[in-house]
């Protein structure tokens, strides 16, 4: 009789080794570890519907290219690089399609149990939708910078991922935020 328990605390690099050696079921652990971050980035870059496609495509690429991961950098750095490149290709392929976020039906929002005033909750949701739509009108690179910044990446990391200088990241973010602020001026408060 043999008892087995998988090691959920295994590092990314160990899990990658196991997958490359044939235990492809271990990919589940990588997916569950990084799905939230990848999804958030994909969602901010596209819309609700396209974000599902994009998230899957990012993980497809990660899975396909796992054998090429040499361990010279951290796995998370490598995955984020794949994430950004796949996204930029995806957005470029779909540039003629306007991304639209799926809005929740207002009724659902109002009937959700909440401590907030229902009207305030609706306004909040509307604002989020407007912010999202405004973000989707930006060019892919500034949009990607804002999305990566929202995920906690530093300017240096963003510059590395998007292959530009840190100064460019700073000025682009400044400009893009200013643009969004002007677009949302009427809706603030």
């Amino acid at each position: 009789m043999i008892t087995v328990e998988p090691n959920y605390e295994a590092s990314d690099e160990i899990i990658v080794k196991r997958i490359v050696d044939g235990d492809t079921e271990q990919f589940r652990f990588l997916y569950e570890r990084y799905a939230r971050k990848v999804w958030s980035f994909a969602f901010r870059m596209t819309g609700n519907v396209e974000a599902e496609d994009l998230t899957s495509e990012i993980f497809f690429q990660v899975y396909r290219k796992l054998g090429t991961f040499r361990g010279e950098a951290r796995f998370s750095t490598w995955l984020h690089t794949v994430m950004v490149h796949t996204t930029m290709n995806f957005v470029s392929r779909h540039r003629n399609r306007s991304f639209r976020g799926k809005q929740e039906p207002l009724l659902h929002v109002i009937t959700k149990p909440s401590h907030e005033d229902p009207e305030a909750a609706v306004l909040k949701k509307e604002l989020q939708a407007h912010v999202h739509r405004a973000m989707l009108t930006l060019d892919p690179k500034p949009r990607a910078m804002m999305a990566l910044n929202a995920e906690g990446f530093s300017y240096a990391e963003i510059a590395n991922l998007l292959r530009c200088r840190e100064g460019t990241v700073a000025s682009t973010l400044n400009r893009a935020r200013g643009t969004l602020a002007r677009k949302l001026k009427r809706l603030k408060g």
Partner: protein, 312 residues
């Protein structure tokens, strides 16, 4: 004129400050510059207003998320099947076509390693990386290793058969081809710079545990999901059901156990699933089940090593 100049200077300074507002917001400014900019914001209403605008946008973007809609792994798998996701193209996932071809391939690797070792020894060079020399263990392949068993009190000799099993068939087939690759693994040990003396003593105060002043048993984990262990039991051992289990060095048991019947009391063959283990130091505990009780047979430290990493 003075007034105009002053306005121009003020305009230039403001432009300089404005360009740094996002950096301040994202904490990307060095502390002295951040302090200077914050001081300016207390004096300049326009810059302060602009800063608030940028902060509002940043916070609004942080709220743009839809965590309830994250696709589950099951959904991802469904999509992967729909897109006919190709399997990974790696050595270890290729199907084993014939044992003969594999034997030849492995023999070629071993010869290559031996030749390289000899030339390196002659040239006085050291191994760059074991990973470059040793191929991964393909699924289905078996490597037999005779390891360093130096006077372990209870167990006198160990031969390890490492094999990648399919999870559905945890036990190795009754008879499989083995190769003695002792020299290869000795080289691994040298390359890993493993000091066999370097293991802590068993937990004090436990009468069941023995002290081992001799170097310990040394098990190599070779990308094997299941490691087969064959133990020669002490002479006074009886036939019966034996239990092998792994423990951490602090005595905490791990959920890795195996039970095997020893028919003659001389030898024991078990398979342990090592998928949950990372390289490190453990105790291997051998007990004999005697109705409701367990008879202690041997308890000795082991070291799990992944020979393709440089970790000790």
């Amino acid at each position: 004129m003075k007034d105009l100049l002053s306005k121009f200077v003020h305009f230039c300074l403001r432009s300089q400050y404005r360009s740094k507002l996002s950096r301040l917001l994202d904490r990307e400014l060095p502390p002295p510059e951040a302090a200077e900019l914050r001081s300016h914001l207390t004096e300049c209403a326009r810059c302060q207003h602009e800063y608030e605008q940028l902060r509002f946008v940043k916070r609004a973007i942080l709220k743009v998320k839809n965590p309830d809609a994250i696709p589950s792994y099951a959904e991802f798998q469904t999509r992967a099947r729909a897109f006919e996701l190709l399997p990974l193209e790696t050595y270890s996932t290729r199907r084993i076509r014939s044992t003969a071809a594999l034997q030849l391939k492995f023999a070629a690797y071993t010869l290559a390693v031996a030749a390289l070792s000899l030339s390196c020894f002659l040239l006085g060079a050291s191994y760059a990386s074991v990973a470059d020399l040793i191929p991964p263990v393909p699924l289905g392949e078996q490597i037999s290793m005779r390891l360093y068993v130096l006077n372990a009190p209870a167990i006198s000799a160990v031969k390890i058969n490492a094999r990648n099993h399919e999870p559905s068939s945890p036990h190795p087939p009754p008879h499989t081809h083995t190769r003695d690759t002792a020299q290869l693994w000795e080289q691994i040990a040298q390359n890993q710079q493993i000091n066999l003396q370097d293991l802590p003593e068993p937990k004090r105060g436990d009468p069941e545990r023995q002290r081992y002043d001799e170097p310990p048993l040394f098990i190599v984990m070779s990308k094997a999901h299941y490691t087969g262990i064959r133990l020669e039991l002490p002479e006074d051992c009886e036939k019966g059901q034996y239990l092998l289990s792994l423990e951490k060095m602090d005595g905490k048991p791990l959920p890795i156990t195996a039970e095997e019947e020893s028919h003659d009391g001389a030898e024991l063959s078990v398979s342990l699933d090592l998928r949950g283990l990372t390289a490190g130091k453990y105790f291997l505990l051998v007990e004999r089940k005697n109705e409701e009780q367990r008879e202690y047979i041997g308890h000795f430290p082991v070291r799990m090593v992944d020979p393709t990493s440089n970790a000790k």
